[in-house]
């Protein structure tokens, strides 16, 4: 690693994170392409780490850097979406998205609550929302036999199509086929194939988190970028190069090439083109 950052790696915050197994995060930042993550930005990150007060939750403290300024809209965030802008080809192809089931559950509930609270002073409880979602989500083994787009019907019925799926950056990937992002992929392998993190944002227990997968098309007004180390933040599984890096467990099945990955502003519910599959 470059020695101009070595002095920072001995700061308390960095030492704590190193001890917890997050050293790869610093490597990612230091090695990042300085056409996009400049030396000055890297310095700002490490200065932030140096100022750690010793009593805060260290992960939340580190996360707060990437979110600066905290109240700014995404387009005005200082450290996000600084990678290479992707060309307009991206708007003509289907992209894949894997999210935590909890995240989709909360997104749907929030979207419906907005409608229902306004219209009828009502909202849904989490437990009832999960019941409904469990019926809308498709099990992998039923993927081929279910021909209707259940989730699209639901979005249309409840009028939440224009609502944003989540408030903040989304990560998506490009499949082997422009019209079928899951072509050649066993959906159950997606967390491994995409190299997704576990609950501690490391490789550990990456396959123990309930997740869902779906395809979407990004609309023209959404800007799409190649991710940088600052977009990846405090996760140890991400690597440079603009492609996903699969976990070693599925290298034999899918090889090590990886798939093109992207980060972008959030899309709306009606950007989803497939059913939502439980994986």
């Amino acid at each position: 690693m470059s020695n101009k950052f070595d002095k920072y790696l001995n700061c308390e915050c960095c030492k704590i994170l190193d001890k917890l197994g997050y050293n790869q995060v610093f490597k990612n930042i230091i090695m990042d392409d300085e056409r996009f993550i400049t030396e000055e930005m890297k310095m700002e990150f490490f200065e932030h780490m140096k100022e750690y007060d010793g009593i805060s939750d260290v992960m939340q403290y580190c996360d707060s850097f990437f979110n600066k300024p905290s109240r700014a809209p995404l387009a005005n965030k200082k450290y996000l979406f600084k990678g290479e802008r992707v060309d307009n080809r991206i708007y003509n192809i289907e992209l894949g998205r894997v999210a935590k089931k909890m995240s989709i559950s909360l997104s749907v509930k929030n979207a419906l609550d907005k409608q229902l609270l306004f219209a009828s002073n009502s909202n849904l409880s989490d437990i009832d929302n999960e019941d409904a979602l469990n019926y809308l989500l498709i099990d992998i083994q039923d993927k081929e036999s279910i021909t209707d787009n259940r989730f699209k019907d639901f979005i249309n019925e409840f009028g939440i199509g224009k609502q944003i799926l989540q408030d903040n950056p989304m990560w998506t990937f490009e499949g082997l086929d422009n019209d079928d992002v899951f072509y050649g992929i066993d959906l159950v392998d997606l967390p491994c194939l995409l190299g997704l993190p576990g609950v501690k944002r490391t490789h550990e227990q990456y396959d123990k988190i309930p997740r869902v997968a779906f395809s979407l098309k990004v609309s023209f007004e959404v800007l799409v970028y190649k991710p940088t180390s600052f977009d990846a933040g405090l996760t140890t599984v991400w690597r440079h190069g603009g492609k996903t890096k699969c976990h070693v467990e599925c290298e034999g099945k899918y090889g090590v090439t990886g798939m093109e990955e992207y980060v972008h502003e959030p899309v709306s519910f009606d950007s989803i083109t497939s059913n939502i599959y439980q994986i």
């Binding site: 009828s120 009502s122 019925e157 990560w171």
Partner: protein, 238 residues
């Protein structure tokens, strides 16, 4: 810049501005995930203490919803939290403010769903303000105690505006889970009979989508058979 402790009040309020992880979870719910693993008692205790020091009076609806979602997904020990919620519910029992009625309602519903026996049928029947101002929250609560009363109230609500009907559609799986199947199917038929043609079709479609097996016939067909004069009915059975 000074660092920050985990600040639950801030995380509940800043839910919109906080960054998500790659899987789409906000920091508040990443913390919920951590607590649900039950391997960090210190974190759980810290968060529990913060919840017990929240001023529920000054939280808006969105913040209360977020708080309850957090408690739900974190599976945090609620043995101290529930009495704290109950205190708010009791001390605001006579308020007629729409906001307070709704806040009380979703807190009552949350406690009932956890199967904590703080309330009974009489308590819910006495919640007249809730029934009037937030009927679907009241229905959710009543559905745990007396389905017949809940069904009647649903019939009243879905005969009103379209969005009231949507409240029912989305609740079908939840009601189906907790009410006896036969009873629920009868309710579907009852509601079906009083709906517009469009809504009848929707109820049928969504009952199918949500895998509620009313019979081998659609609700529409059942309704038509039921409306046949008796002797034709007998012929069909024959």
């Amino acid at each position: 810049m000074k660092g920050q402790q985990i600040d639950i009040k801030k995380l509940i309020s800043d839910n919109k501005t906080a960054l998500t992880d790659r899987d789409g979870l906000k920091p508040l719910f990443i913390i919920a995930e951590r607590i649900s693993r039950k391997d960090n008692l210190q974190l759980e205790n810290n968060v529990e203490n913060q919840i017990l020091n929240l001023d529920l009076e000054n939280l808006n609806i969105e913040q209360v919803n977020t708080l309850l979602s957090f408690v739900y997904y974190s599976k945090i020990d609620v043995s101290n939290i529930i009495p704290y919620f109950k205190k708010y519910i009791t001390s605001n029992a006579h308020s007629s403010s729409d906001l307070i009625v709704l806040k009380r309602g979703i807190l009552i519903r949350f406690i009932i769903e956890l199967k904590v026996k703080y309330f009974n049928l009489k308590d819910i029947l006495a919640e007249k303000n809730l029934r009037e101002k937030s009927p679907w929250i009241w229905i959710d609560c009543m559905s745990y105690y007396n389905w017949s009363i809940a069904e009647d109230e649903i019939s009243i609500q879905i005969s009103k505006k379209q969005h009231e009907f949507q409240n029912l559609l989305y609740r079908i799986p939840a009601f189906h889970r907790r009410i006896d199947n036969h009873l629920f199917c009868e309710s579907l038929q009852t509601w079906h009979a009083n709906l517009s043609k469009l809504n009848k079709q929707k109820l049928d479609d969504w009952a199918n989508k949500f895998k509620v097996k009313v019979s081998d016939l659609s609700l529409e067909a059942i309704s038509k058979i039921d409306s046949l004069p008796l002797f034709q009915n007998e012929l069909m059975e024959y």
